[in-house]
Symmetry: C2
Subunit: 335 residues, 2 copies
């Protein structure tokens, strides 16, 4: 499995992995958990994306870390804000999702990538790069991961196969320099001793006979068609209520919601109609309201996505008028 994985990572992502620098995990959550335990001491500061992945925050906190949020914008994590932070405080590591920022789906720009690697090398900052959906890039060639350009050994690179196989089939990986991987492995052994050999053999076979690569190509086409179907349906039935850029990849749209709409209430009403999505509060480091929603498009087929958009429109129409106004009253005049 490690041979098959490292071959795939080296040939398709430019990540210089070898069987002795890869550890297979039960999905990316275990990758985060054991890496955090191996890397962090109580009180260590870890910078995280201010809109980001709660599962990662939990793993870092359980390892004793204190988290410091760093803003994200249309180019991903603000490296300038991180640099300012690093000047003031001894930041041990930064957790980042440059490929398609989670949850906003933006691709980190090349300039920022270079700046981040250089900052990390200068300050001996560990970059925890979570490349959770590398396979799902639709427009143009995907940028190579930070790990592909890491000259200083700053990057611990992790990813998952659960998203291309099945969510119930937990399989992920960590790539790091050999001494780091050995330390991480020792924490993995203390946690559950070993991987699932049967599953790993099966997956390695899927890699080796090319079935996994074919499967990913089919999924990419399917998901791209779903993305486009959701985009068209939202424009048709929701009009000005939502605004978004077409994501170049990923598994969701990050949609801005018109100021007169309370996105969290809208999500509740939609759920009552059988359509589940989250407002931005779920992803915000401080749990604050923000007028955005993350709309996943990979679980449903094109017809289902069109039906989901219709139900979202119905739910929106049902929202009591008062709910459209934000508590600060800023949107009230627009009703």
């Amino acid at each position: 499995m490690r041979e098959a994985l490292s071959h795939m990572l080296a040939t398709t992502r430019g990540v210089p992995a070898t069987p002795s620098t890869v550890m297979v995990t039960r999905g990316s959550q275990q990758a985060l958990d054991v890496t955090a335990r191996a890397l962090l001491a109580p009180g260590d500061l870890v910078a995280v994306e201010a809109l980001g992945h709660r599962g990662a925050w939990t793993a870092f906190r359980l390892a004793g870390a204190q988290l410091v949020p760093v803003p994200v914008d249309g180019e991903g994590l603000s490296v300038a804000a991180l640099a300012a932070l690093v000047e003031r405080q001894p930041i041990r590591a930064v957790y980042v999702t440059p490929h398609h920022q989670f949850p906003t789906t933006t691709v980190m720009s090349q300039t920022r990538r270079a700046e981040l690697l250089s900052l990390a090398a200068r300050h001996r900052l560990v970059i925890l790069e979570d490349d959770y959906d590398h396979e799902f890039h639709y427009d143009g060639r995907p940028l190579l991961p930070l790990a592909a350009s890491d000259r200083a050994g700053s990057v611990i690179y992790m990813g998952t196969l659960s998203k291309i196989l099945a969510p119930g089939l937990r399989s992920g990986f960590v790539v790091a320099p050999e001494p780091t991987i050995e330390r991480i492995v020792s924490f993995r052994v203390a946690s559950d001793i070993q991987g699932d050999h049967v599953t790993e053999c099966a997956i390695a076979e899927l890699f080796e006979d090319g079935e996994l690569a074919r499967h990913v190509r089919r999924m990419r086409c399917t998901y791209m068609a779903r993305r486009d179907a959701l985009v068209a349906a939202l424009k048709r039935v929701l009009g000005e209520a939502v605004r978004f850029q077409l994501p170049a990849g990923g598994m969701a749209l990050w949609a801005g919601v018109a100021p007169e709409i309370d996105v969290e209430r809208w999500a509740e009403r939609s759920l009552a109609r059988g359509v589940a999505f989250y407002g931005a509060r779920m992803y915000d480091f401080e749990g604050r309201y923000q007028p955005f929603a993350r709309l996943g498009f990979t679980f449903l087929d094109e017809d289902e996505l069109r039906e989901a958009a219709r139900r979202m429109a119905t739910a929106l129409a049902e929202l009591p008028r008062a709910a459209h106004a934000r508590a600060d009253g800023s949107a009230a005049s627009r009703l």
Copy 2:
């Protein structure tokens, strides 16, 4: 899976488990790891058997605990020594293997069991009961676990199915009062999100159609015959070199080795001849030499066990005479 497991535990072991007080894990190591993380704070004192299970010690230490060894003897953990310890220091928990003490295979006496439960109830001490080989009891009926008589809610009970299925198929469980299990589950979720649904469905089916119970009965006969074959072979080819009591259950003999034999060197020589066993140093809390060996009998069939005993005798004959004497010279006069 939780329904099938709790039904088995309630009907065959008297453990009052229900689906909401059971958590399925990836083997007993994960049960130890997540329980330790959920239960222990840095600096907490945990009492452990002075001859015991390193994997458990590692899990407790990684959760920040400090370990305090308690002697074991022919009745298992010395509850008197533990009671003296509890009077002096705030012990949070005690890890114990009462069914067949690991590695010495002794069964904890009924008197000690009652004393331990009473001590725990008085001092709000958590008992971590690891019942790792409950199925493998050969002579008489197995004693019920401590968890079956726990009126005070002191016991967190754990076990494994890996030993009856396959070592590579990690499957174990924790049973605890519901609030405790919920806390442990939250640590499990942060570690690898969920169990392996496919495997768990398969195992639940094996429980439900009675196949697992039949398999255990077959294994018990097989292992008992292997125990008896090893015992007969050791007596025949090793004579006075080893001394042991017939273990009433478990997967190994705990053999005392004559004082003129260096058991650790003997183990090395045997390994060179293809027979693997450990001397007591591996299990001693301080890593001290002790004249005992743990001889597993479940991996090999009866012919193989006889061959193993012959090779152990050859290895013993090969030991340089000097090695037979302990460094302190106490045995030298007997050569």
